[in-house]
Amino acid sequence: MDVFSALTSSLLSPMVLAFLLGIVATLIRSDLKYPDGLYLTLTIYLLFAIGFKGGYKLSLIPLNEFIVPAIAGLFLGLLIPVWSFFLLKKFGKFNSTNAAAIAAHYGSVSAVTFGEAIAFLDLLHIKYEAYMPALLAIMEIPGIMAALLIAKKYTSNTTSLKSIVHELFTNKGTVLLIGGLIIGFLSGSKGYDQVSPLFDGLFRGILTLFLLEIGLVTGKKIRDLRKVGLFLILFGILMPLIHATLAIIIGKFIGLSPGGCMIFGVLAASASYIAAPAAVRIAIPDANPTYYLTAALVITFPFNVTVGLPLYYSIAQLFF
C-alpha cells in the first residue's frame, strides 16, 4: 500500500475524525463535556482490553519468541529518556526538573496510540506478531523509571526510590494492562470466547469515544502551544520520527514482520499520558505540567495518530 492511501485510511478513520471533532467542539465553544468518571471508565476499558487481548494472543505462541523483542523493547525504553533529557536540557534550555519530566513521557509508551496502531493494521489486514501488546506492557515502566532516576541525580528531588517504584508498579495503568495480560494468558481461548464481544467487538467504538474526549482536552490545551516554545513543538514531532525509525531498524534486525516493525516504531515514538503524568506528579512535583502534558498530548499524540501511523508503516516497508 502506498503512503497516500495509508494516510487517507488513517485520517478518515472514525477515531481520528472523532479526535478532530473534539478539537472543533472546543474551538466553537460547544457545551459538549463528558460526565465525571467517564474518561476513567473508558481508560479502564481500553487498558484492560488491550492487556486481555494481548494475553490471549500470547497464550497461542511459544513464549521464547518473545525474549529478544522484550530485550530490545527494554533497551529502547531505557535509552530514549537518556538522550531526550540531554537534548531538552542542552538545546531546549529546559531545567533538569522539566527535562526529566518530559523525558519520562517519551521513554514510556501510549497504550491508546498502540490501540490505534492495531486498529490501523487490522483494518488493512496487515499481520503483526502476537506478543506486541506484551511488548507494550514491558515498555511502559522502564522509560519512566530511567527518567525519574535522572531527575533524582540532577535535581534536589528527595522522593524515595521506594515510593517511586510503588507508584510505577501499582498505578492503575500498569495493574490493568499487566493484569489484563495475565488474565488473557491464563484463560486462553476458552476465556477469550466468553468475553470477546465486549473486549474485542466493542474496542474500536470505545476507542472512538475515548478519542473524542482526548480531542476535547487537546482543544482546550491548544493555546498552551504558545507557552511551550518552538523547541518543544519540534521535539514532539521529530523525536517520535527518529525513535520510530530507530525502532523499525532494530525490529528488522531482530526479525520482526513489517507490521511488527511498525508497531515497535509506534511504541518507541509514542509518549505516555496516563502512567507517566501520574508518576511525574508524585516523583517530580516541581515539573510544570504545561510542558509535559502539552508535549505528549497536544503535539506528539495527534502527530502519531494522524500522520505518524501511515508514515511509520511506510518507513517499515522501505526495509522489506
Binding site: Y39, I214, A278, P285
Partner: protein, 100 residues
Amino acid sequence: MTLHTLKLVTIISDDVLTQNLIADIKSLGAKGYTMEVAKGEGSHSSRTYELEGENIKLETIVSETVADNILMLLAEKYFEHYGLIAYVQNIDVYRGEKFI
C-alpha cells in the same frame, strides 16, 4: 448532649498524594477522615479535566495538638514542592470524644 470545640483540618491536594496523606494524618492521631474529589485551579497547576488528574479534599476532625502536628508535617513534607492547601477551622461537634 454537650458540644466539644475541636479543629477541622482541611487539606486540598493532588490525588496522587491521597494514600500518603491518609497515612500521615492517621500516624499523627487522626481517628478518621472524610474525602471528596475536588476540581480547581491555583498557582501550582490546574486540575480542570479528569485527564490532568484530580484533586482531593480531605477533612479530619482532631484535637488542637494533632491539628498543629498535621500542619507541621505538611509544611515539612509537601508545602515546598506539591500543590497543596491546608487550613484549620474551629468547630463544635457532638460526641467529641470520638475524635480525640
